[in-house]
């Protein structure tokens, strides 16, 4: 499957359209705020359209994962090729993009959330130009990670997100934004270094034989790294079940676990969320966290099937701890945003538990949960943002009786809340169900303990609803306006997805079913 627009592949378009938007934004005069906003909206809007096109023409039967042939919309150009010198061999870095069932949902998610993020950024008045320029750069980074099939490219996109995020939190954030920004930066950078080192170790351990010339070529191509035959003799990561492979697995895992974030690498998240402006929280929870689990599935699992199997239990236990721990911590919070941040930890724990099961249900459930959680937390953060815009408060105890004041808002927010709670009929349930089903097959007791998390989740969500929406409206909260059309616009597509996928998840599952099934098979067979 290939699709070109003006001779340029659709993936390149979808990744770099925001960069084009960024350049336009930078060229626009500072004063012309609306033009800047519209540029950003159009750029991300085009992304949504392109994602729609991809969704429409995506071939649901192709497998992907390790087979370059069955990736779709593939674009591969040699980027850096250095001809052979005797002692190094040929060096190759390529501009290699493509998607399979694993990434296609993430692309849709990213484009959608980015677009909605722009809408919710409409009322940002401080340094509009800088804000949207950084925002669009961030979007490119996220989108790029999901389509990159070359480790180097992946890494570049991964790290490109750092700086925009740092500034977006640090410049437009709340009172403790500096602390939050540097904490975020530090954590992710540590992970980045670990990934860099592992990537290099992989690079030098992997060399495939170029069929055309017969040369041995070192490459960053992720797919080549999945083939045990490509590992050079005596390479650091050659062989199976070696200590170094475990170390490499762990290094990558820590990197991704920081992003997910998994207990005990999670403490950056609450701070970042609390301080970040609403749209950035939306992006952060909606897309950025998924990069972690996506990375695990794209990199850790297929490249190190031995390590993955070795550390299965470890992952599942961390997932379990995250679920329970995140839920309890969420319950203890008085700050609305912090609560959602911890609930994210809890929900992402479900993803990890699901994918650690290494079976199809768990895998599908996990990936679907990534998507669903992206949608749900986006709604929740938007909901907090709406209240914050009106009252400049985030404390749960500052509110009460909102349901009377803002019925439309309450309805929409409650749907989001119930989806987070895992209510059947809404999308969160479906993915949780499959994740737990898969996990239960692999780990009985761990899963049973994890499932208690849904009780705690019900506890904190309902308690939050009670404190915020129910009860008598205090004096100071009377006279709040209900949602404006712009705000309704940003909620509606997400809520529609929440309900639709809750009732009929098949369209989403069909996209990834065959790929993920193959991934499971690939990993459990040890990559052979």
């Amino acid at each position: 499957m290939e699709l070109h627009i003006f001779g340029i592949g659709i993936l390149t378009w979808i990744v770099f359209i925001p960069i084009v938007g960024m350049i336009i934004v930078l060229l626009l005069p500072d004063k012309n705020r609306n033009a800047i906003r519209w540029t950003a909206a159009v750029a991300t809007g085009i992304q949504v359209v392109l994602a729609g096109v991809i969704f429409a023409v995506f071939d649901r039967t192709k497998l992907g994962i390790n087979d370059a042939e069955s990736f779709q919309f593939v674009e591969k150009f040699s980027w850096i090729t250095v001809e052979a010198v005797p002692w190094v061999g040929r060096i190759e870095i390529s501009y290699f993009m493509g998607i399979d069932g694993l990434s296609v949902l993430m692309i849709i998610l990213t484009s959608l959330i980015s677009f909605i993020g722009v809408i919710s950024s409409w009322n940002i008045e401080k340094m509009v130009k800088g804000y949207f320029a950084l925002y669009l750069l961030l979007v490119t980074g996220m989108m790029g990670v999901f389509v990159a099939l070359d480790f180097f490219l992946f890494f570049i996109f991964w790290e490109v997100m750092l700086l925009p995020m740092y500034f977006l939190i640090g410049l437009w954030g709340g009172p403790r934004r500096e602390y939050a920004a540097i904490k975020f930066f530090l954590y992710t950078f540590v992970g980045g270094i670990l990934m860099l080192l592992t990537m290099l170790a992989l690079y030098f351990s992997v060399a495939y034989t170029d069929p055309a010339t017969g040369q041995s070529v070192h490459t960053f191509n992720i797919l080549h790294m999945m083939n045990p035959a490509n590992y050079v003799d005596g390479g650091l990561l050659s062989g199976v079940d070696t200590t170094w492979r475990y170390v490499a697995w762990m290094a990558l895992f820590i990197n991704f676990a920081i992003k997910i974030p998994l207990f005990p690498f999670h403490t950056w998240l609450p701070d970042a969320h609390v301080e970040a402006p609403t749209p950035i929280s939306v992006i952060l929870a909606g897309v950025l966290l998924k990069l972690g689990t996506y990375g695990l599935l794209r990199i850790n699992f297929p490249i190190f099937p031995d390590g993955t199997i070795y550390f299965m239990y470890f992952m599942a236990i961390l997932g379990m701890i995250s679920i329970i721990y995140g839920a309890f911590c969420a319950m203890a919070q008085d700050d609305f945003k912090k609560l959602i941040a911890y609930s994210s930890i809890s929900h992402m724990g479900i993803v990890v538990l699901g994918i650690a099961a290494l079976n199809t249900q768990g895998m599908v459930g996990g990936v679907l949960q990534m998507f669903n959680h992206g949608i749900i937390t986006a709604v929740l953060f938007l909901a907090v943002g709406v209240l914050y815009d009106r009252t400049h408060k985030r404390g749960l105890n500052d509110f009460g009786g909102i349901a009377n004041q803002m019925p439309k808002y309450t309805g929409l927010a409650m749907i989001g809340m119930f989806a987070a709670l895992g209510l059947p009929g809404l999308n969160g349930f479906v993915s949780e169900l499959f994740s737990f089903l898969g996990a239960f097959e692999a780990y009985k007791w761990i899963t049973i303990i994890s499932v208690t998390g849904i009780i705690i989740t019900a506890g904190y969500i309902l308690w939050t609803i009670q404190r915020v929406f129910l009860g008598k409206t205090p004096e100071k909260l009377t006279g709040l306006n209900d949602l404006t059309p712009r705000e309704v616009l940003m909620f509606v597509p997400l809520i529609a997805l929440i309900i639709f996928l809750g009732v009929y998840p098949s369209p989403a599952i069909k996209l990834m079913n065959s790929s993920l099934g193959y991934l499971v098979e690939f990993v459990t067979n040890g990559g052979f």
Partner: protein
């Protein structure tokens, strides 16, 4: 016929919900006619379905399904199944729901969220019908949770009251605990049989497949699924939510918390009956029995009219569960049906009383007197005749007095327990059964007498109370009619000869023979042999209970106070509901708070602390060097960064600025390197 019709039945209430949510406020009369009309239509369709089903294909279970999702190589399909159980249940649900809709048009008039209320009723009816219609345990779980939500929304209908939102939360969370078990049970079944469909699961079990190859897991699966019923049907130990749920509007209590939703647990057990092992059934029977006893003992001492009814509901649900547990399948389910009618009637009647009391208190501008406390009532018989007479019929029915429907079903249950004990020696079950029958008669008549008989406690209020409007009394009359025996069996002393027993028959157990409970023929024989004794005993005990109540509260021959004093601990225990709420509050709620506080502290201090370089070391460091903590501000994230910063500080102290010191370092390093490497 068996696809479109059930689908129509399912969709209509949902339609009502959607229309009312979006357009409720704009419709004339806020759309109550729309909701009620659609519900009536649903009732008619259900009746058509039931009649056709019983007349054309009485023995079959007709199901149809579609593929919901393909995951891996497994196809998960959803569908509907119409068997007699479902068809009867459909009528029960739609009937009570329709009547409650009508009743609510009177009761909820002038409510601030009138259309929202009807919308939620629609959502509830939709979900409840979903539970009934599904052929699939997962889909049942889905609707299971949805009724939970609609119940949550309706309990919290008056959410301005803190107690209402608390009760709503409690209901949902306690139910979640039960659902947790059910969820795991479902997972066990799916992983063993790769399907969620009931029939397919039963087929696999009867083919000898056991979950994870072990009999224990089959029992566990049964008990775990039963956990869902424990939650929803408010069985011990999860019964605590139901009394609190009375915070909701009274018609809601009638519909959800008496007639239908709480009976869903019974329906669930009936649905999965074929896969339950003897052990699982025994657990179920005992849970039911304990529940029945505990709730009945509490009901005796309550003064809130709705609380009494709530505990009686729990107690009756315990009966049903116990009946299923002992194998009296039809009796249990029949009790569900009869109970739906008379308990809905009781609640609506109570609603009618409360409505009248409210109106009276409103006229007096009295906002302190509790409109639901029976100590404030008395003598209302003459003010509310329709309400009184229907209430009396309901009370007779629940007490198990002959000629009522309640007698038929309860009698069969008692006979079943007795038979069970003769087969297995579990004499505890019939003992409780009969004891509770007596208690029921006692507390129900206590309620009736205190409310309607005697002298009015407060004349002013009494004067203000008037009979409720027609829209409220007519449903009462219909329900009262349905509480009489001839709707179920023309023989007032034997249900087994009626159409009901013909339609609903105990399904065959699918579990391996060793694990099976007593087969139906064996059981039936035992029941036949004890039936007469049981009947006589039950009439005797029920009458005894009624007489006792009359003696204490009507004729005042026995003083209630002295009885209470004599009961001592038992009395205080009963008044305080055996302290379940307090114990749960201390153990679970407080425990949860402690854990979460601990974890929060842990998160903020230890984990962050480790990351930030343990606070201790930093402190010691800073004390030793006496630097004031400027570096946090310096943008170095505290901790590791701090320590690094400190180390950097130490290192920069090395840089003295004196060139000869530098040279000393150079020479020194030279020597060190010399020693190290050479």
């Amino acid at each position: 016929m068996y696809t479109q019709l059930p689908l129509a039945i399912l969709i209509l209430p949902l339609l009502a919900f959607i229309l009312l949510i979006f357009f409720g406020k704009k419709l004339p009369r806020q759309g109550d006619w729309l909701a009620t009309g659609l519900m009536t239509l649903t009732l008619i369709l259900s009746l058509i379905l039931l009649v056709t089903k019983l007349n054309t294909q009485p023995a079959e279970a007709i199901s149809s399904s579609f593929d919901w999702v393909v995951i891996g190589s497994q196809t998960i399909s959803f569908g509907i199944m119409i068997d007699n159980l479902a068809a009867v249940m459909l009528v029960v649900v739609t009937l009570v729901s329709t009547l409650v809709h009508y009743f609510s048009m009177g009761y909820m008039k002038d409510d601030v969220r009138y259309s929202r209320y009807f919308a939620y009723l629609g959502l509830f009816s939709f979900s409840m019908l979903g539970i009934v219609l599904t052929n699939n345990i997962l889909l049942m779980y889905v609707f299971w949770e949805l009724v939970g939500v609609s119940s949550y929304l309706l309990i919290g209908h008056w959410y301005e009251k803190k107690s209402a939102s608390n009760a709503a939360n409690k209901a949902f969370i306690v139910n979640r605990v039960g659902d947790f078990g059910m969820f795991i049970g479902i997972m066990i079944l799916f992983l063993s049989y790769s399907t969620f469909a009931f029939e397919a699961i039963f087929d696999s079990i009867s083919a000898g497949q056991l979950p994870f190859g072990s009999e224990g897991w089959l029992t566990a699966a049964g008990v775990l699924i039963f956990c869902g019923a424990v939650g929803k049907s408010a069985q011990f130990p999860l019964h605590v939510w139901l009394p609190d749920a009375m915070e909701g509007p009274t018609p809601v209590s009638a519909l959800i918390h008496a007639a239908t939703m709480v009976a869903a647990g019974v329906y669930l057990v009936a649905r999965v009956f074929p896969m339950l092992t003897a052990d699982a059934l025994l657990v179920i029977a005992y849970v039911g029995a304990i529940t029945a006893l505990i709730a009945a003992t509490i009901a005796i001492t309550q003064y809130d009219i709705k609380k009494v009814l709530a505990y009686s509901t729990i107690s009756q649900l315990g009966y049903m569960i116990m009946a299923l547990g002992v194998g009296a399948y039809t009796a249990g389910f029949m009790h569900l049906v009869t109970h739906a009618a008379f308990k809905a009637g009781l609640f609506l009647g109570a609603g009618s009383v409360i409505f009248g009391m409210h109106a009276a208190l409103h006229k007096l501008h009295d906002h302190h007197t509790d409109a639901q406390d029976i100590r404030n009532m008395g003598g209302l018989k003459s003010r509310m005749p329709f309400t009184y007479w229907t209430f009396l019929i309901f009370t007779l029915a629940i007490s198990g007095i002959p000629l009522t429907s309640g007698f038929l079903s309860k009698d069969e249950i008692l006979a079943g327990t007795l038979a069970f004990s003769t087969l297995n020696g579990h004499w505890f079950l019939p003992l409780i059964g009969f004891l509770v029958a007596g208690l029921t008669a006692f507390y129900m008549f206590r309620l009736l007498i205190l409310t309607f008989h005697g002298k009015p406690v407060n004349e002013k209020i009494y004067e203000g109370v008037t009979e409720s409007p027609k829209v409220m009394t007519i449903p009462l009359v219909i329900l009262a009619a349905l509480s009489l025996f001839f709707f179920y069996s023309f023989n007032p002393f034997g249900a087994t000869s009626g159409w009901f027993y013909g339609a609903i028959q105990r399904p065959l157990s699918m579990v391996p023979e060793l694990l099976q409970p007593a087969t139906y023929p064996v059981f039936y024989e035992a029941v036949s042999s004890v039936h007469t004794i049981a009947m006589l005993l039950s009439i005797l005990i029920a009458t005894g209970g009624v007489l006792m109540a009359l003696a204490v509260y009507h004729w005042k021959k026995i003083s209630a106070e002295s009885l209470a004093k004599r009961a001592g601990v038992l009395y205080t225990g009963s008044v305080n509901k055996w302290y379940f709420d307090e114990i749960y509050d201390t153990v679970f709620v407080k425990g949860c708070h402690v854990i979460m506080k601990m974890l929060r502290w842990f998160d903020e201090n230890i984990i962050d602390g480790i990351v930030n370089g343990s606070a201790m070391i930093t402190k010691i460091f800073s004390n030793a060097s006496g630097w004031i903590d400027n570096n946090i501000v310096d943008g170095l994230v505290n901790g590791t960064a701090n320590t690094a910063g400190r180390a950097g500080g130490l290192l920069s102290h090395v840089q003295t600025g004196k060139v000869q010191t530098y040279l000393v370092y150079v020479i020194f390093s030279f020597l060190v390197l010399f020693v190290l490497f050479l």
